[in-house]
């Protein structure tokens, strides 16, 4: 089993996020410098999946409501003004977090930390932030797509 502190969580997250945006949304996202206190302001949607087993943790994908609409249109091959349904937007953000989280879960399993994945949960609103304490590792990676910023956070700890 690899030491949990030696896992390249940032690399895992960056590669899987870029791959999901490229394949499912035909969008190229570039990682940009993120500080630990970086947050999206205004109306936003956060999709999270958890994994539990010999490691426990979660991955959260934060996007603005406006960008989530663009993502939805892109993933479903629609025009932006055809996206009206909030449920549809939340499902897309949830599915993106599921794909990024699923890849992380697979990397953890292959590194000797067997775990299972939860179904995604999605939270939307304005001016809220997610604070999570007690983790051994926490990475926050920001991505830029044109003028839109998204943030991917991963929290994990070993339970063995």
């Amino acid at each position: 089993m690899t030491d949990i502190n030696k896992l390249d969580l940032k690399g895992f997250c960056t590669n899987s996020t870029r791959s999901v945006f490229h394949t499912m949304l035909s969008m190229e996202v570039s990682p940009v410098e993120a500080n630990p206190s970086m947050e999206l302001s205004g109306s936003k949607i956060v999709g999270c999946v958890s994994f539990t087993g010999e490691v426990t943790g979660s991955i959260c994908v934060h996007v603005s409501k406006q960008f989530a609409r663009v993502m939805t249109a892109s993933m479903l091959g629609m025009e932006l003004d055809e996206v009206e349904d909030d449920e549809e937007i939340q499902d897309v953000v949830g599915e993106v977090s599921n794909m990024v989280g699923g890849d992380m879960k697979s990397k953890l399993c292959d590194s000797g930390f067997p775990c299972v994945l939860s179904i995604p949960s999605v939270t939307s609103g304005s001016d809220f932030k997610i604070e999570s304490k007690g983790w051994m590792r926490h990475e926050k990676i920001a991505f830029q797509q044109q003028d839109q910023l998204s943030i991917v956070e991963v929290f994990i700890k070993s339970v063995v």
Binding site: S19, V20, H22, T23, M24, S26, S74, M75, L76, G77, M78, E79, E87, E88, D91, V92, G94, E95, N98, M99, G101, G102, D103, K105, S106, K107, C109, D110, P114, L117, S118, I119
Partner: protein
Amino acid sequence: MTLKVLAVDDSKTIRKIVSKAFSTYDCEVLEAENGIEGLSTASREKPDLIVLDITMPVMNGVEMLGKLKGQPDLKDIPVIMLTAESGKENVMQIVKMGVRDYMVKPFKGEQLIERVMKILTLQPKAAAAASPDSVSSPYFSIVDDIQIVTLPEKSDRATLIEIEGDFNQSLKTMAGAGCGKLILDSRKVKEINMLVIKFVLSVVQNCQKTKIHLRIVGSAALGNELKGFQETSGFSVNTSVEEAKATF
């Protein structure tokens, strides 16, 4: 005969993408959002193929697969797992349970269709299958035995997906009818963006695969963009359909 495909996934988005992937083929896509619903639909409809997610509420995909394989009337239905999880042990476990294929998300609809084609013979929808000129699309025409595809001014994602679907049908029927020349006319397109470039590259690749002779008509800007891609670096872009026809 219309084939029945059952998509079992808790995400409506994924079910829509799967449905869209099959939309140009003679298939009926049935949907279920968890394993229980999936089993029930499979028992009732006896689909020709099941596309199955793993992580779902109520009953997950692995449990559904186990139950499916335990039922004599359902056990032979081919199953393609479509899941975000790609861990080696996970894949081994699923493969041992008898799935026909395993696809990891993220995925493209075309990739799914490629996998399905290894299991089932998909027929393009009947309306388009008769002859090259039966593609009922405003973007397709035939002049002097040459198939002409004209991209509209507003070539957005939805339009290009529609044209690509018709184009793929058209290629098959062209090959069957011995019609081997195609002109892609992009002069009306208002904005040559990455979507358009990707579409052109896809047309070039498909024509190469099916040995269709392709000529492209468009602006100098398109010609410059295409020079940057390996597939099209040697392509000359013609300025008119007449000029393109003369080069065949």
